[in-house]
């Protein structure tokens, strides 16, 4: 009997004693938290995706409660959450601009020239460590699906043609793929801006022609076509400033490499994953 009672008493006693000490300490060292912070935290989805630009939902709730961050930052929650956060903070509801991931590369297996056959780990970061991957293009999508693996929402997939493509309906704009991509070829772009330059290559035009059938050669035709003057050549790559883009598509038909496209056309072109 003693063999059972003594251990029970000792460990039970220790548990009680330490519990009491901790209970007292938690009273003594209690930290006041902004009550609004908890309220904001409760209406957030809690996915900790980082789409708002903060490390976690808690961090965003803290910033929002202190008024340091806008009420419309949560892209996963969208308008519904923005309304609730605004109600808690007592401010006007601001529209959430939904951003989605966009792979700005058309270097499919047919279009892009490969410099070697890659038989390694199915991971873009591993391939990238081997002389920048199997494509001649140092900037393009490697198509090994690292983004697919890190996506918490099953929204990005590598197509049968060998480049990644995002499912905009599922994408919440959390940016996990953007961080994981070793080529920085995935960008977060406002979902309403449909026209994009689908190339990430900063090489000179001559080199681009040799290695990719659809790469931007920085000819500058689109710059002249754009009625809004929002396209510029940056380091041998055409870049659209999305703030002024009206989706007019004037740049699309004149592009000699067919690099610029309307995203809706691409989605209808490419086969289902």
């Amino acid at each position: 009997m003693r063999d059972i009672l003594y251990p029970l008493a000792i460990l039970g006693g220790m548990g009680f004693l330490f519990g009491a000490i901790l209970a007292y300490a938690s009273q003594k060292f209690h930290v006041e938290v902004n009550p609004k912070q908890q309220e904001v935290r409760d209406v957030l989805p809690g996915a900790n995706c980082g789409g708002c630009g903060f490390a976690s939902c808690d961090a965003y709730a803290q910033a929002a409660a202190e008024g340091k961050a806008g009420t419309n930052r949560c892209v996963v929650g969208g308008r519904a959450v923005a309304e609730k956060v605004a109600a808690i903070m007592g401010t006007e509801v601001v529209e959430v601009t939904k951003k989605t991931a966009r792979v700005i590369c058309k270097g499919t297996n047919d279009n892009a020239v490969k410099k070697y056959k890659y038989h390694g780990i199915e991971d873009c970061r591993a391939a990238n460590a081997l002389a920048g991957g199997d494509k001649d293009c140092q900037y393009g999508c490697l198509g090994l699906g690292t983004c697919e693996k890190v996506c918490p929402f099953d929204a990005i997939h590598v197509t049968s043609e060998g480049i990644a493509q995002c499912d905009e309906e599922k994408c919440t704009g959390c940016g996990a793929c953007v961080d994981a991509c070793p080529k920085d070829v995935i960008k977060l772009i406002d979902i309403n801006k449909r026209v994009s330059v689908f190339c990430n290559n900063h090489d000179k035009g001559k080199r681009v022609r040799q290695i990719c059938g659809v790469g931007c050669i920085a000819c500058g035709i689109c710059v002249r076509q754009c009625p809004e003057n929002v396209i510029a050549i940056d380091n041998d790559l055409a870049v659209i400033n999305y703030d002024g883009c009206t989706n007019c598509g004037a740049c699309i038909p004149k592009c000699p490499q067919r690099t610029i496209s309307n995203l809706d056309e691409i989605i209808s072109e490419v086969a289902v994953f």
């Binding site: 003594y6 460990l11 220790m14 548990g15 330490f18 901790l22 938690s26 060292f29 930290v31 460590a129």
Partner: protein, 192 residues
């Protein structure tokens, strides 16, 4: 007597360094060693927890467990002590320095399951130290832990700016650095 304690202190800091010779508690060694400042914070927390654990677990062992013949409860009892101390430290740090609390993040509660802390408690008993010995040994071990952690953090801070081959950037170079540091500590062997 004093000489004996000094030897114990030096040997626990340098010769039997927990991180680099005994290879206990490597998790925070790699986790919180990116900045010297957070490494310092972690060190202070570890020194406090380790020393207190050493003392309290020694007292528990000698005055409670041993007379009742309950030595087999050692590990459970020690873990309870460590968990309480860590919780307590966490509350104090949260109150006194929110920045440090944020920086330490998950590693603070992880001291609970840090094998270095449990290692100190168990080794005190195994080696047959008396109370003074075990206080010195626990404190020395914790200081050795901190010494290794902070110096490694200094190395990693410089590594971040060093021109390293691309394949070795980040974690691989950190591991190589840890190995070299461990080799350097091997030089203390035979000192005591």
């Amino acid at each position: 007597m004093l000489g004996h304690l000094l030897i114990l202190l030096v040997s626990s800091i340098f010769v039997d360094n927990y991180l680099l010779s005994r290879f206990l508690g490597e998790c925070p060694f790699l986790g919180v060693s990116k900045q010297v400042e957070t490494a310092m914070g972690m060190s202070v927390a570890v020194i406090f927890v380790m020393t207190m654990t050493g003392v309290i677990s020694y007292v528990t062992q000698v005055y409670i467990l041993k007379p009742l013949g309950l030595e087999y409860l050692q590990i459970i009892a020690f873990i309870v002590i460590i968990a309480t101390l860590v919780q307590f430290t966490e509350m104090v740090i949260k109150k006194s320095s929110p920045t440090l609390y944020q920086a330490l993040g998950i590693y603070l509660p992880l001291i609970t399951t840090n094998c270095a802390v449990l290692g100190v408690a168990l080794l005190n008993v195994q080696m047959g130290y008396n109370l003074i010995d075990s206080i010195v040994y626990s404190f020395g071990s914790a200081v050795g832990f901190s010494f290794a952690l902070v110096s490694y953090a200094g190395i990693r801070e410089r590594l971040a700016f060093a021109p390293i081959p691309k394949a070795l950037e980040g974690f691989p170079s950190a591991l190589i650095g840890a190995g070299l540091l461990s080799l350097a500590f091997l030089g203390f062997r035979g000192l005591v």
